[in-house]
Subunit: 316 residues, 2 copies
């Protein structure tokens, strides 16, 4: 028995890009797209659409900008029913860089925002909707914003936006199943006309179980990445999610091949996964940036000092 | 707010011994015992008590046998409130090798059994109880035995045994939160006079979340291992469990130090953790022995072939 409404979005290249400056080469992106397509995954998110006025193209990989032409080159000639998604951050995109859907290979645009920026996110997402795209708003760092401001943001999204999906994003990998249940139920309760999605982070090895918990409470849009790649500890491993879902349209085998051939070697070059400073960040409900800095320093395995630096509870 | 009844058992040396032939040296075991004691963990399981008639001592490390004298040497002089546990398997121990508690450094004996062997397990555990030990029965591979035979075994344990704790053991790492809820509630319902424990395996990165789920439904005895070491994908990482529990008696820092100093180097020598063939075993609800054999072969990264070998559903 499966729930037909469930849609899986692979954000391997997009979230993985946060740990390699978005510098996946075209060959690699095509291999990922091929496997994701063969696996029957519904969406593949290929990167960010950032303003070139804010970020100099020479200093980042292609997927920091996701020009329509670059996307076309990456997917050209590959048989696929997988839709293409891009992500935009509030304040980092020029709306005129988003052409009408009829002129673009992109199907969906996801707007990532903190609760405090929800008005801007709604404005942007409505612009993309008017241009013909499927749209979502992804509320980041939701573990910090579980109070009345979140309620207000959810009501605004329901009443003022045209998005199809509201995503709960556990940016800090700080949630476990009880808060996931609380948040998904709250969102389902307020957002009568929209779907709820979930994007987990794996700091405490809870991204997959939190995604299962979101499924149990009727979230229908689910993010995963191949071999769990993504910022810091990474995301919900796509292969586990596909293995769990019963929908016969999915085939795990192309993803297993992709891991064998591409991700085992890649993991020797760039680091993600279960790493103690990221686990500590999750326990502390803080952004992993301090842990990411630690991992680039000579103190990378000095966990006690890192733990104590985050847990100073003095009043000064 | 914490639940005072919760007891944490570290089985680093015992379950970790399954991947290195129980060959941890005395220095290493003392370092683990020191850190576990400083962290305030309630029990440390140090290995198995196996019959030397069945297993030749020269072919295994010390912790396959856990002679009382070896345990004494390992813990001698270390300040500790941590109790010592050993595990026995049905059919692999000589009852006369278990001296009365008053002559042994061991506090608790856990009898591991499949549902089919529950009569033998009760007989053994009652013998250990009569000798003065705390006792448990740990039902292994419970994901295969969720039907009426499990109910009968639980009733027998309640009515015929003197054990303090019945453990649910997800040997195959096949459970997620819904079956954990089902099994813990069932056990709590039948075992009116005993505590329920949970021992997870991490094949699908669910050992920690399943342990949280067991806590939510009032399991009070919880297993973990340092850095998640254990057979195949390993167990619930003790550091995550200690980080989650609110009991002020626990201190995570000695465990963080132990990981920095001992387990990061150890992980380069022996393999455990999130490894695709173990994840596949978990999805398929099978013993990881085929995956363990694969990892020792030249085909260790050939995931597709391994997946297909387990998923042949023909009628022949």
């Amino acid at each position: 028995m499966f729930r037909e409404k469930i849609k899986v979005l692979d954000c391997t290249i997009r979230d993985g890009g946060l740990i390699n400056n978005h510098e996946f080469d075209r060959r690699f992106v095509r291999e990922v797209y091929k496997a994701i397509s063969e696996a029957g995954v519904d969406y593949m998110e290929i990167g960010y659409r950032n303003s070139k006025n804010l970020f100099a193209p020479g200093q980042f990989g292609l997927w920091k900008f996701c020009d329509d032409d670059e996307i076309r080159k990456a997917i050209d000639g590959i048989k696929s029913n997988t839709k293409i998604s891009i992500m935009v951050d509030v304040g980092r995109v020029e709306l005129e860089d988003i052409k009408p859907k009829s002129e673009s290979p992109v199907d969906m645009i996801r707007t990532a925002a903190y609760v405090k920026d929800i008005d801007k996110a709604i404005f942007m997402a409505n612009d993309f909707h008017a241009k013909g795209y499927e749209t979502t708003i992804n509320i980041m760092a939701i573990s910090l914003d579980q109070g009345p401001e979140l309620d207000e943001a959810l009501h605004q999204i329901e009443e003022e936006s045209h998005v199809e999906v509201l995503y709960i994003v556990d940016s800090f990998g700080a949630l476990y199943q009880e808060p996931v249940e609380y948040l998904v139920k709250k969102a389902k309760n307020i957002l009568k006309t929209k779907e709820v999605g979930f994007h987990g982070h794996n700091h405490m090895q809870l991204a997959f179980s939190n995604t299962i918990e979101a499924i149990i409470h009727n979230a229908n849009f689910l993010d995963g990445t191949v071999y769990g790649i993504g910022r810091a500890a990474g995301n919900c491993p796509l292969e586990l999610l596909i293995g769990f879902l019963k929908n016969p349209k999915f085939d795990i085998r192309p993803i297993l091949d992709l891991i064998s051939k591409e991700f085992i070697p890649l993991r020797d070059k760039i680091e993600w996964g279960y790493i103690i400073p990221y686990a500590i960040s999750g326990m502390m409900n803080v952004h992993p940036r301090a842990a990411m800095a630690l991992r680039k320093s000579e103190k990378k395995e000095n966990y006690r000092e890192f733990f104590e630096s985050l847990s100073d509870t003095g009043t000064d």
